[in-house]
Homo-oligomer: 341 residues x 2
DNA sequence: TTGTATGCGTTATCAT
DNA sequence: ATGATAACGCATACAA
């Protein structure tokens, strides 16, 4: 005796003895008066049939799908997942569903992702992609739909942008180390390529060093996943400089680099906070468990995701105006790895 | 001079000088002969206009959306994300897009998630949920669409099921510890409640102990996130038993528990492989970095995700037959935490 | 083989 | 205030 087929607007109309148009109006334009008795009848029918409009049909007709396309460069990245989580929740709460497209670090598929998502009439995009490469989207590849960029800017695409306040975060990290007596700093980042967040952090690191010269010296090392020898060598060189009476510390550009550095320290038999100080961007759950605990810059990932979704939804509701930038503050989490002398 | 509006089948038909039906046939039923010249004209028009059918319209008309609904209990869980990654990739490769719904551990929203997804006409479901609670879906809540369960079975819902081979994995872990000379085993799991995978692992642990009695003794402890004292006490009790000349080891039911145990060990000032041996389910990236390295049972998460998606897509292609079970083998990764005497 | 007409479930534009 | 009807973009019986 079950109704496996969902009730349609026609069913409701028939049961209420009115036209489909009336039912539609009841649902969408409650403000406009409809005679109370008719409204009551429609309401009853809707309740009885447990009627819910088909989002697909709505999308086809009215243009809006209540779908948001989320493109992420690499879902393996815990940062991306953390952001995704906040964004998805906010979308859900606002009645939007998320369509996910993972690029798997295939930088050239960005355009493909946008197009696939646009095919499903998504109302807007949240983009956490590299912002470079062959598949790079120009602003009008978005099919006229609004987008918000997360963590990484795209050259020439001026849309809303949400990210960590990289300069402030880097300054907090550097300041903390300098205060702790560290004088030789090495910033280790993934290859910058064109990725805006990496460049911003590296630039901010340079600014911090410049501001503390000549007492403090700094260097930058680009680490790739496949050359642990180079990383070890860089750490040894840093340590050698420390030997001349200047304490040395490493700054890691993200959690992936932090992991590499931790592995290198294990290989070298060194301890965080002893041979080398350490502060890393991102605050993974395992940071407290490595050696004396890793000091970190915790990103407000959840807030970033929520802000991105909120930003987009505001645009979908018609908010006009120039592109906005939301730069959220990071939080310095002090643990043993950056212990002062 | 750009065309911001996507070409429709009508545009193609007009340009080719044929009817929409002919275009549709050209796209969907290439096998049926259409006169070569007409086919050529349609093909040219399609290419020229860069025409792509609207999946939404197709879904509305033809019923199929090429959308797959993915419901996950908690996207914070790295296991879920790892599975999601494999599944999403396989779906993409098969031309399906993934709609994501995260329950955020709100066990009662499962039904809501299914309904929301079904509203968008998803062709099928991949479910990595708890399988209990008020919102539990019965088999016909799926609106007649196929589903595949991942990691957790649902009582009374017989659909395809993909998961780690829990008994074999537990046996490998226990066997390894017993061989290494460990005699007092403690299995620490999240509260089992009704979750099938937790129950299976606990049961398998019991079987392993039984098979090794009386030489080996085992106990089970349910750990919640908010009572570290209880966990510490359990570890102390275990260690006390070890003192009587029987080496003791902990088995952790998943990565979350592993993290809790590692914190506890740090609090107690104990070292893995010394005071207590250790093997944990799941192989997080940081496992090598905790103490002498944590021995683990690595789950083939990517393969599980791929298998789940493949399973579902086969059903979508019409595969009939009784529900299938895919039990994938785990891999014992030996590190320092389970060093023999 | 190809074209015409209809339906999928809604919303919106007209009348009434 | 309400109802008929035409889109929306596509697929498919049916007619030719």
């Amino acid at each position: 005796m079950q109704r496996p087929v969902k009730a349609t607007i026609a069913d409701v109309a028939r049961m209420a003895g009115v036209s489909k148009a009336t039912v539609s109006r009841f649902l969408n334009h409650r403000e406009r008066l409809l005679s109370p008795d008719i409204a009551a009848r429609v309401e009853a029918a809707v309740a009885q049939l447990a009627y819910t409009p088909s989002p697909m049909a709505q999308a086809l007709s009215h243009g809006r799908s209540r779908l948001i396309g989320l493109v992420v460069a690499d879902i393996t990245n815990p940062y991306s997942v953390a952001v995704l989580r906040g964004a998805e929740k906010t979308c859900q709460d606002a009645g939007y569903l998320v369509m996910l497209f993972n690029l798997g670090n295939d930088i050239d598929r960005e355009r493909e992702a946008i197009d696939a998502l646009a095919g499903y009439q998504v109302d807007g995009f949240i983009l956490n992609t590299l912002g470079r490469g062959a598949g790079l989207v120009d602003v009008d590849a978005l099919h006229g739909k609004p987008a918000v960029l997360v963590d990484r800017r795209h050259p020439g695409m001026h849309t809303d942008f949400v990210s960590l306040d990289n300069p402030a975060a880097m300054q907090a990290a550097c300041g903390h180390l300098v205060e702790g007596g560290y004088r030789e700093l090495l910033y280790i980042t993934e290859p910058q390529k064109g990725v805006s967040s990496r460049r911003e952090r590296t630039a901010a690191f340079g600014d911090c060093i410049a501001a503390n010269e000549p007492g403090v010296a700094g260097d930058v090392f680009e680490s790739t996943g496949d050359d642990s020898e180079a990383l070890d060598a860089a750490l040894r060189a840093l340590h050698k400089r420390a030997k001349r009476g200047r304490r040395a510390a490493v700054l890691a550009g993200n959690a992936v680099v932090t992991l590499r550095v931790a592995s290198a320290m294990a290989r070298l038999g060194w301890r965080f906070g002893e041979e080398l100080g350490f502060v890393g961007f991102d605050d993974p759950e395992w940071a407290p468990l490595i050696g004396p605990g890793l000091s970190t810059i915790a990103q407000p990932t959840d807030a970033i995701g929520r802000a991105a979704a909120t930003c987009l939804i505001e645009r979908l509701r018609g908010l006009e105006g120039p592109p906005r930038q939301l730069l959220l503050p990071g939080e310095l989490v002090v643990r043993g790895s950056s212990a002062p002398a």
